[in-house]
Symmetry: C2
Subunit: 419 residues, 2 copies
């Protein structure tokens, strides 16, 4: 892969065109302007665990489209189901049978779920969970962890431009894994607590990932039981990568509502809210809809994704590949005597360098650049994603790239030390 040397001529040319017709050239999480220089702004194709950018550089893919691709690109079972449905119809005057099948599949798969509703964005799902919590409880206040990402609507988007203070007046904050901070926030809401929204683990961008403390999760469950508020699990990023079911089934804590998107249809645009019977009436009372929310192709892809996840024992594969990757990277770092931390579940790895310039991530940026130039697509400030399409050989390819990247970091550090 990438044998002709890394080029980004075409990507740069496209970005010049984009800069004329798109504000800032690009926006959102796929804006490459915040990434190190070698990163391409435009991609061309993908197959299995490999992706190719517009300049023909091929990469082993450890970003998986920031999560949606869980079985690998162009998974045959998913593509077949989507193509069969596309021949019939996608967006119609009413949903198709596929929507019932997908709702049944989600309810059968996720333990806490008695019902399902579908949307297009993860943000649709997290926002709708809050709305259903409010409709059910008749209360207003939602608590979330400070710094957590629950989407890009005014109530939660990480940048404040265009957001009014009123958009957040009903949102309170706590510290992830700090139950006392939640209790304090709950106390401040008085009798107005509608819900607590939380991600399965702390996956804030740019920070070491932090697995959930089981006592913390249980504590949230108890607080919600005591107050009647909804416990909302934001499984948008983790859902179906850690478990074929809710990510907190692994620790035995059941939310009342959960938000899903990304991986549930292996890259086809779909989101979902799942809930328990206590919230069914509230969910029915809310008016929520979208032009493409009932489209069938993504739902057909979703049904096939769930089948394939089970049929291929996909989680076990991702765990195995993720563990091999983590072990290999740890060994490489040790050998070149570079202090690193690897955090998060092995399927969603995150790598930081000790003393990496107080959050500047200069070493992480340099490492990611060198990995990219050697054919591995990772991100310096966002967790990576392992897909079930990865093989042992792919892990070797990945580790070859990380080895070269570590060597480059080591050389950089030595040159700095001797200056």
């Amino acid at each position: 892969m990438n044998i002709r040397g890394h080029s980004k001529l075409k990507s740069t040319e496209l970005l010049e065109r984009a800069t004329i017709v798109v504000p800032g050239g690009m926006y959102g999480h796929q804006n490459a302007s915040s990434l190190p220089a070698p990163f391409p702004q435009f991609m061309r194709s993908g197959q299995g665990a490999r992706v190719v950018d517009v300049d023909g550089n091929e990469y082993l893919d450890l970003m998986c489209s920031y999560g949606p691709v869980v079985l690998g690109h162009h998974h045959p079972l998913v593509e077949r189901a989507a193509a069969a449905q596309a021949k019939l119809a996608d967006c119609q005057n009413a949903p198709s049978e596929r929507m019932v099948e997908m709702a049944e599949a989600m309810v059968a798969t996720v333990r806490h779920a008695d019902w399902a509703m579908f949307q297009k964005n993860g943000t649709d799902a997290t926002t709708l969970c809050c709305t259903i919590a409010r409709a059910t409880t008749g209360r207003r206040r939602i608590l979330m962890a400070e710094g957590a990402y629950h989407g890009a609507a005014p109530w939660c988007t990480p940048r404040l431009a265009g957001v009014t203070p009123e958009d957040r007046v009903n949102v309170g904050y706590f510290t992830f894994n700090d139950l006392e901070s939640v209790k304090a926030a709950v106390a401040m809401t008085g009798d107005d607590l509608a819900g607590i929204i939380v991600s399965p683990f702390r996956h804030d961008a740019g920070l070491d990932q932090e697995l959930v403390d089981v006592a913390f999760a249980r504590g949230l469950r108890n607080l919600c039981d005591e107050t009647g508020a909804a416990l909302i699990l934001d499984d948008v990023r983790c859902g179906f990568r850690l478990n074929v079911g809710s990510s907190w089934e692994l620790i035995g804590v059941a939310p009342d509502l959960s938000a899903w998107s990304k991986a549930i249809a292996n890259g086809y645009p779909l989101a979902a809210v799942l809930g328990s019977d206590r919230f069914r009436e509230g969910a029915t009372s809310v008016y929520t809809t979208g032009s493409f929310w009932f489209s069938s192709v993504a739902m057909a892809a979703g049904v096939a994704t769930i089948e394939a996840l089970r049929g291929e024992d996909a989680i076990a594969t991702m765990v195995r590949m993720g563990e091999a990757l983590r072990t290999g990277i740890a060994l490489q770092a040790e050998r070149v005597e570079i202090g690193i931390k690897q955090t998060g579940p092995v399927q969603m790895p995150y790598l930081t360098f000790d003393d990496d310039g107080r959050g500047n991530h200069l070493l992480a940026d340099f490492f990611a650049s060198k990995a990219l130039e050697n054919g591995l697509f990772i991100h310096p400030r966002h967790n990576w994603f392992v897909s079930a399409a990865m093989t042992e050989e792919d892990v070797e390819v990945a580790l070859d790239a990380t080895q070269k990247a570590f060597n480059a970091v080591s050389a950089l550090m030595r040159s700095r030390a001797t200056r």
Copy 2:
């Protein structure tokens, strides 16, 4: 079509299954529970101007998936472009060349636009317009027409369940086509007016449609020029059905920002915000994104849709078919001596019956039922949509169904009169 008589066995059976796993059985604008009994809850397929429900009933389609289908179902040029892109990739680590092409195509097509951003839902687009208006002006207040539909987020959704008062504290209301009411609302905002959002014509569900008064539109433009607020055109429902360009180009009024979705990719899930250079910096400052916003297949479909709209002179076809339909319906009503009103642009027709039970729409419901049973898919309380796939023969088929429906309404009215 529908020669074996209208059946809804399979649709009913699916709805029974759905009722277990979906709150209320279905939600949003595609919830058939508010439609007359013969309407199916589930569809199977579509081709050109024809759609088939899960029971095999075939209909001439005058709903066009509530707007997205503008060239007809499975338009060959659009399907070819989408399939070619799908072979490469859809959702990737970064957008593809298709995004640049689609942004260029939108900017080249829509006169007021200097730039484009893409999303998935019409609600994403209208909400982002408000956010960009706020980011640019540093102000908070948005004005909208009372009763207008601008999406299903808490700030604008038509039902209040789960909505907090704070969600709407920065929204003010005026009456469509009543400039004095806008001036009064503007006066009340003081110096805090960020934007005025308005649809190209009044297409509120359940009410006679009302074309925009040109003086009203110009008055809004002047008010925004005087105050520095953004004039936001919500072209989600009308865009590319009235004009290949902004719907207000037809009256020579340019908005600052416009929201698009539905028809721009002929049924593939896509939305867009277009804006002028004055709002580019504000748009750049806002953090907005979605997992599937950069997906390529819908953008490839969008580029092809714009080409086909132009290449086939699709607007002229829709106008011609819409006019033939309107003339035919008017004649039929006259002949059976039933008082009706046909309102809205001919491509987005809406039919009401005089003295139809004070908003109960009983006659409209009955008429729509009979039309449906005779093979015409319309809606009793929502505007219809003509597609460019309609032919003169299709208009005849539609008019045959409306004739039978008028006859049934006439018989019903006579039986009531003699009771």
